[in-house]
């Protein structure tokens, strides 16, 4: 069902495309930098999050945000593949649908991981204190988080027929997921209703996971966050594979 060669080929294409668009890499780094520099820098004097520097507090959240933006949008890019035709080239080849979707997901997750590492390096430059061991530990976690988020992108991309719904995804899925995730505030102090909503947001657990590893605090126990993130990634992979193959 899955051909390693096929998966690798689809992955390879994503890599070549990613590294060829250097200006896009720079562009996608500007948003996280703005959040860390302007938002984090301006609020750190007036916001108290349990004695921790506010910019360091939001750093894991901004890393998670950049993982999400890259993953969801690259996942949705299968619409472009369809529109511009390359999808047909893959569909008519002897590579199975499952291999195509897995290759696409792994390729996108890899680019997202590279993006996340770059954002983390910027956060470190701006004062986040992280040891090498911790830094390395976040790599598999970021990859895991990305896979779940790519699944969201591919699922949406399989359901949509054209690129016009792009802005809609931005406004109704990506932005709310980011703002409700506790990336910018501690969820333990929230009013009950809002707290419940943040618990329903899968990105919350990703942020908690990274925050626990990077700065040692979290509102949700590490094991629960890890369990939810793994479960969500598996679920999204299965869903996106099914939606993509069904459309075939």
């Amino acid at each position: 069902m899955i051909e390693i060669g096929g998966v690798y080929t689809v992955w390879l294409r994503e890599m070549i495309r990613y590294f060829r668009q250097k200006e896009r890499i720079v562009a996608t780094l500007t948003m996280p930098v703005f959040w860390l520099l302007i938002f984090g820098g301006s609020l750190r004097a007036s916001v108290d999050v349990g004695g921790i520097d506010y910019r360091s507090f939001i750093s894991p959240g901004v890393v998670a945000m950049s993982l999400m933006f890259t993953s969801v949008f690259s996942g949705v890019s299968i619409i472009w593949d369809r529109e511009l035709g390359f999808m047909k080239e893959m569909l008519v080849s002897p590579v199975s649908r499952l291999s195509i979707v897995v290759g696409k997901a792994l390729g996108t997750a890899t680019t997202s991981l590279i993006q996340g590492i770059m954002v983390m390096l910027i956060a470190i430059l701006l004062g986040l204190k992280v040891g090498l061991a911790t830094f390395l530990l976040t790599v598999p976690l970021m990859l895991l988080i990305s896979i779940g988020l790519v699944g969201i992108g591919i699922s949406i991309g399989s359901l949509m027929n054209n690129v016009e719904g792009f802005q809609l995804i931005m406004n109704f899925i990506v932005m709310p997921m980011f703002f409700l995730s506790g990336a910018l505030f501690p969820i333990s102090n929230l009013p009950p209703t809002l707290k419940l909503i943040t618990y329903l947001d899968p990105l919350t657990y990703a942020v908690e996971l990274l925050r626990h590893v990077l700065i040692g605090i979290s509102s949700i126990p590490f094991a629960i966050s890890l369990f939810v993130v793994i479960g969500f990634s598996v679920l999204m992979m299965v869903l996106s594979a099914w939606l993509f193959s069904r459309r075939g």
Partner: protein
């Protein structure tokens, strides 16, 4: 057993539209077979089914001895496809596109380089192998797509409107490649076109398709012979048109002109003009036409395949292609 066998193939889309309506045909190994018909006749739908991209509603289609519906992977391995719309990755170089294709078809590393060089040579793009596809002209992109379709040595090559939107010179080049593939590689080629002269020039056999049905299938020679000879085209005064139709049995009217089918136009035109004079039909101009496929189509359907019948999609594609620049 023939390399492509299609029996009672039907494809109905959601809204009840019947794109392909119970067609039956077969193609022999090494043949260049053409599907000729106007846009929307069902050509692309048929190709899509044979290439396993669409499931048939009913009927059977077998390619290389495998069922196109239930043995998709086996079919995919033995065919090459050049689609009507561009399916290259235009951010990659020509060589990268070919390499991805070779990998998708599981061609071992030792063979890959050699075959890529070979197909680049066939379509004459060796000197541009490291250019980004976006910078290619429409003709170069098409040639690259043909090259790509050949890397895995397919037994059958499908070409959907291979010369659509190309300038006459590039079109001639593409024709040469197609003939060469048949001659040197004994490849079976299935192509669709709405260009009469393309079908006439290239194909060993042609199926004329309209409204999802095959209305004629034969060699170009026999199709033309079936017209019963030459054509005389009379341009007469408007007021005399009806009279002319009555005078000549079996005459047809097309575009305000009178069309007569005769065995030998050169010999009979004198008699025809004499009868016009006798019946006081004022002839402005008389022309002799040797049979062309266009006349076959006209005779079968009562209308011509119009070349300006180009869909919106194609216009968009052309515009996109125009963005790139040629050599």
């Amino acid at each position: 057993m023939d390399i492509i066998e299609v029996k009672g193939l039907t494809k109905t889309f959601n809204k009840g539209f019947i794109a392909v309506d119970g067609i039956t045909f077969s193609i022999k190994k090494g043949e260049i077979f053409g599907f000729l018909g106007p846009n929307g006749a069902g050509k692309t739908t048929t190709i899509s089914i044979l290439c396993t991209l669409l499931k048939p509603t009913s009927g059977k289609a077998a390619v290389c001895g495998y069922d196109a519906d239930s043995e998709q992977n086996k079919v995919r391995k033995c065919i090459g496809v050049v689609f009507q719309d561009m399916t290259l990755d235009d951010r990659l170089t020509a060589r990268e596109n070919l390499e991805l294709h070779a990998r998708l078809y599981g061609i071992p590393k030792s063979e890959r380089e050699k075959r890529i060089d070979e197909v680049l040579g066939i379509v004459g793009l060796k000197d541009r192998e490291n250019s980004i596809v976006k910078t290619f002209s429409g003709g170069m992109q098409r040639r690259l797509e043909i090259a790509r379709g050949l890397i895995h040595y397919p037994q059958v090559l499908f070409l959907d409107e291979p010369t659509l939107g190309l300038d006459p010179q590039t079109r001639k080049h593409v024709w040469e490649y197609i003939v060469m593939l048949k001659r040197d590689y004994d490849m079976t080629i299935f192509l669709t076109t709405h260009y009469m002269e393309e079908a006439d020039e290239l194909c060993d056999r042609i199926a004329i398709i309209e409204h999802g049905k095959i209305i004629a299938i034969d060699t170009p020679r026999k199709l033309k012979d079936s017209l019963g000879g030459d054509t005389i085209v009379l341009d007469v005064d408007d007021k005399d048109t009806e009279k002319a139709l009555k005078t000549f049995k079996g005459a047809k009217r097309f575009d305000g002109q009178i069309i007569l089918s005769v065995r030998n136009a050169g010999r009979e035109i004198g008699k025809v003009l004499e009868r016009c004079r006798e019946n006081k039909i004022n002839v402005i101009e008389a022309n002799i036409r040797k049979p062309a496929l266009n006349d076959v189509f006209l005779k079968l359907t009562g209308r011509e395949i119009r070349e300006e019948e180009v869909g919106l999609r194609e216009q968009l594609r052309r515009r996109r292609t125009m963005g790139g620049h040629g050599r």
